[in-house]
Each structure stands twice: as C-alpha cells, then as structure tokens.
C-alpha cells in the first residue's frame, strides 16, 4: 500500500461516511414536501432555488421527486444521501374531493388521475430506498390501516424507519399517541413549517440510519 493511501486511510477511519437513499413516506398532507424543503434549505443554503411544491390541498405532490448528493454532518460522521419525496400513500382518490375544495371539475379530474399514478409510483419506489422517514400529521389519529400497512411493508423489506410526528406547533398535536400506536419505532416530534425539532431529527437519523 502506498504512503498516500495509508495516510488517507488513517484519517478516513475517523471521518466515517455513509451513503443512503432516504425516502419521505406517509399519508397525503402530512408535510413531507415541507420537511423535504427544510432539509434542502438547511443543507444547500437559503439561496437554493430547489424547492418542492407544498400546499394545504391533498396530493400536491403527484410524482416521486429526487434530490441527490445531499450531505448531513454530525461530529466526525457524515452522510451522503439522496432524498426522495413521495406522493402521499392513499387507498382512494376521488376527483370530487378536489372539486369540494374549489378545484375546477376538469382540473380536479386531471389532478386525481395524476395523484393515482403518483401513489402507485410511490409504492413501487419502496424497493429503491434504504431508509424511510414516515411523516405523520400529529394532529390526526395515527391508527389507520394505511399507516400500519406501510410500516409492515417497510419492516418486511428490512428498511430502517423513523416516524416523524409533524405539525407539533398545532395545539391538537399528540406525539404521545403516535408513540403509543407504534411502540417499536423511534418517533421524533417536529414542526416542518416552523423548523422546530429538526436538530433532534438529524440526531435520530444518525442514530438509526448510520
């Protein structure tokens, strides 16, 4: 072995690096894209033009989005990761729900069709991720079959999981209930909108995924 290799090999022992593909999964409107934007802004800087579209209307994200070559650092550890933001997993999509929220009928039909394709694409992408942040709206009942099925599939596929209880800035948020429903998984409370709890989430990512 050359002297150069030995030299860099010695230091790389201390600078431990991990590469992974991390997916943001969860039901619609839980705040996955808002959380993805927080990651991007914190890592690439405030000036980054890269931003995912987030909205209070369900199924705003209708195709899988990918950002490569992001790096998280913590002490001597660093993690190169590809961030995958996915359309919310649902078992039903009805264009009339969009119409009720003020979307024109013709646009609602297109949105519903795109959303349906997006959910199918999300499900297919489960095979391509190494680790998953399941983003749940902490103001809603976490005990739903969709959430349980999603977690069951991730476990069956040997994917690492952290549950992110989002929207903790809202009065009705209940992180403890999520912990109670999913006692076998790490749960971190955050507010992606107010960028609260993000440091704790970074720590948990290193703890669980590194």
């Amino acid at each position: 072995m050359s002297l150069k290799k030995t030299f860099f090999g010695f230091f790389s022992f201390f600078r431990r690096k991990k590469k992974l593909t991390m997916g943001l999964y969860g039901p619609p409107n839980a705040g996955k894209s808002t959380l993805a934007n927080v990651f991007i802004k914190q890592i690439l800087g405030e000036d980054s033009e890269l931003e995912f579209s987030a909205s209070s209307l369900e199924h705003e994200t209708r195709s899988v989005q990918k950002v490569e070559k992001l790096e998280l650092k913590k002490g001597s550890k660093s993690m190169d990761f590809t961030l995958i933001d996915t359309p919310g997993i649902a078992t039903k999509i009805d264009y009339e729900d969009f119409v009720k929220k003020g979307v024109k009928k013709s646009d609602a039909k297109i949105r519903a069709k795109e959303a349906t394709q997006g959910v199918i694409e999300s499900i297919k992408w489960l095979d391509n991720v190494d680790a998953v942040l399941i983003v749940l709206d902490a103001t809603l009942n976490p005990y739903s079959q969709v959430n349980i099925t999603l977690i069951g599939n991730l476990v069956a596929k040997n994917k690492k999981v952290i549950i992110v209880a989002n929207k903790v800035d809202l009065k009705t948020a209940n992180v403890e209930k999520i912990k109670l429903v999913f006692p076998d998984y790490p749960v971190v409370g955050v507010s992606a909108k107010k960028e609260e709890g993000i440091e704790e989430l970074h720590s948990k990512i290193f703890e669980e995924f590194f």
Partner: protein, 117 residues
C-alpha cells in the same frame, strides 16, 4: 350495499394474486367484504395498488381496516404465532369496501366504525 362474509379457508386456498382479485372484484361491484384474519402487509399494499390501477369515475378506490392485534408486544406476537400454527388461522377480522360508498372507517385497537356516505 351487500355484505359478503368470506371464510378464512375459501381465501387461503387461493394464491395471493387470486385473493386480491377476488376481494377487488367484489368491492368493485359495490360489496363490503368481511373475512377472518388478515392479509400479509405486502398483499394489502398489492391490493391497494390494484385498486388504484382500477380507479375510474365510478370506482374511486377502497377502504380497508383490520380489527385485531396490529402492533403487538413480544408476548402477543408469540401468542399470535401460536394461534396461527395451531389453528392455521390468523386471528382478527378484515373489512374491505368501496370508498365511493364508505366515507370512513374509524379504527382503534378494539373497535371498527364504518361510516357510510
């Protein structure tokens, strides 16, 4: 809406693909399907995918819920496995229905509440 109650055996003698097709064909007709036990989580996700692939103006997807121990403690997992080995059955009950007719299925570990539109 008709309620179709299927026996565990009638479903388990089918392949996973046939099981999904049978459940989905009944739900697409507008039936509420109830059966003993539950599908594997991969099968549940596959059923969701198939349902979404069938979404049209008339069919908007499914509502699915399982009543039984979902997030089990270690002791419950052992008990669950024992029941499965001894009886060949998975305890609990699964309900699948068309989302066009079912507004919501409210779940808690001991109760299912099906709300129709």
């Amino acid at each position: 809406m008709d309620v179709k109650i299927l026996s565990f055996n009638s479903l388990m003698e089918l392949t996973p693909r046939q099981r999904s097709e049978k459940i989905l064909s009944l739900v697409k007709k507008g039936d509420l399907v109830v059966f003993e036990g539950r599908l594997e989580s991969e099968e549940e996700l596959n059923l969701t995918t198939k349902a979404l692939e069938s979404v049209s103006g008339k069919f908007t997807g499914i509502e699915i819920a399982y009543l039984g121990a979902q997030n089990k403690s270690l002791i419950e997992k052992v008990k669950h496995s024992l029941v499965k080995v001894l009886s060949g059955k998975s305890p609990g009950l699964t309900v699948v229905g068309p989302s066009k007719t079912i507004k919501e299925i409210k779940m808690d570990p001991n109760n299912l509440e099906i709300m129709l539109k």
